[in-house]
Symmetry: C2
Subunit: 225 residues, 2 copies
């Protein structure tokens, strides 16, 4: 059975969050790798903890908080101008090289594509506008409408509501193992882009399909029929 | 105003989760540090993700899942006997050296002490029985009764219900910055045992007090009057 829609995670799946590393290295020579890694870890942690605690703040705010923590944890200091420049990197993340060819390969299929992301509407508009990928998507769905981050069911429900389809008619594509596990627990079909060849997260919900790159998705869809 | 009760986090606060490292090193020479660190990271991650997804499994199960992931991620294999032995380490964690003296110092005060932990009742009974610290506590409160892990409000509510006090009459003591932030967001007073001199987590809720060791708690209580 074909899918009613295919949903893509943004950060880490289509857009390379590692691309902030170069800017972090320019701002803090010798600390770019550590800063960008800790920044990303804290960004995710804060999204989960705020949702659990019922203390939603939008992803721009959370991303700024995470940057502030990471800077302080590394014993650095950041002025307002540099902070603003680093945060702005999230609006011009580099797409993974196989994102555009994969989206082109799906364009001939009769299935709508959408983004389902933690990012705010403004962050998503900017990032996908800047990459030239925007026209591939019927919608950029932000969890901001639910005021809860993935993996809360309310975040995935947004896609069900938007497409008027049942959860198991929708496919979520993500490189984030936790996202795939959360989506599968919710009832979506899932395709895990397992770039690092990591083990499946032990969360009681397996991905429907697994590939090593975005390029594996069109092939998997073909084989599935 | 004196507190109606003082609540202690268990893992990482009174009990040193790092004490599983030696057993991990015996089981997997050369990998003990990496295995025990990843094991702990995944244990916490799974507790949050399962609560967010509404897929509670108890902490013994989650701890086993996290061990399985960590073993696989390091390219290792574990037989049933070794797995059982490693998991059993969570029932005989070593207390931090300053835990017993601090609890002794609080014993003369007219305030009940309790544990509020993610651990199952069985895990807490075993761990505190084995350490000789059990008699200090009026109760070992497990989030298992709420079927939600910290930092969900329902986890902290257990202490409010148990002591019949309002949230701001209770003090939660934890070394985990995320726990302190979650408890503060819920409305508890908090004392953060900041052993690593880490920055405060950027989650919109500050600790009431901060020390560098458990020994700083009685002093802080004295100064507070």
């Amino acid at each position: 059975m074909p899918f009613a829609a295919i949903l893509f995670d943004a950060y880490g799946t289509l857009l390379d969050v590692g691309s902030v590393r170069a800017a972090a290295e320019r701002a803090f020579p010798g600390n770019g790798a550590a800063l960008s890694a800790l920044w990303r870890d804290k960004q995710l942690l804060y999204s989960w903890l705020r949702t659990l605690a019922g203390r939603y703040a939008d992803f721009w705010h959370v991303t700024g908080d995470a940057l502030d923590y990471a800077v302080a944890a590394l014993g650095l200091e950041v002025d307002d101008t540099t902070r603003t420049e680093l945060l702005a990197e999230y609006e011009r993340l580099t797409p993974f090289p196989d994102a555009a060819p994969m989206l082109e390969a799906l364009a001939s299929r009769d299935v709508p594509l959408a983004v389902l992301s933690n990012g705010t509407p403004r962050m998503l508009d900017a990032a996908f506008g800047n990459t030239g990928l925007r026209h591939h998507f019927a919608a950029l769905l932000s969890v901001d409408a639910a005021q809860q981050y993935k993996v809360a069911p309310a975040a995935y429900q947004l896609a069900v509501d938007h497409f008027g389809a049942s959860a198991d008619e929708l496919l979520l594509v993500s490189s984030n193992g936790w996202d795939v596990a959360g989506a599968a627990a919710f009832g979506l079909q899932t395709f895990w882009v397992n770039r690092q060849d990591a083990p499946v997260e032990r969360l009681g919900a397996e991905p429907t399909g697994i590939g090593r790159a975005l390029a594996d998705l069109p092939r998997w869809l073909d084989e599935r029929g």
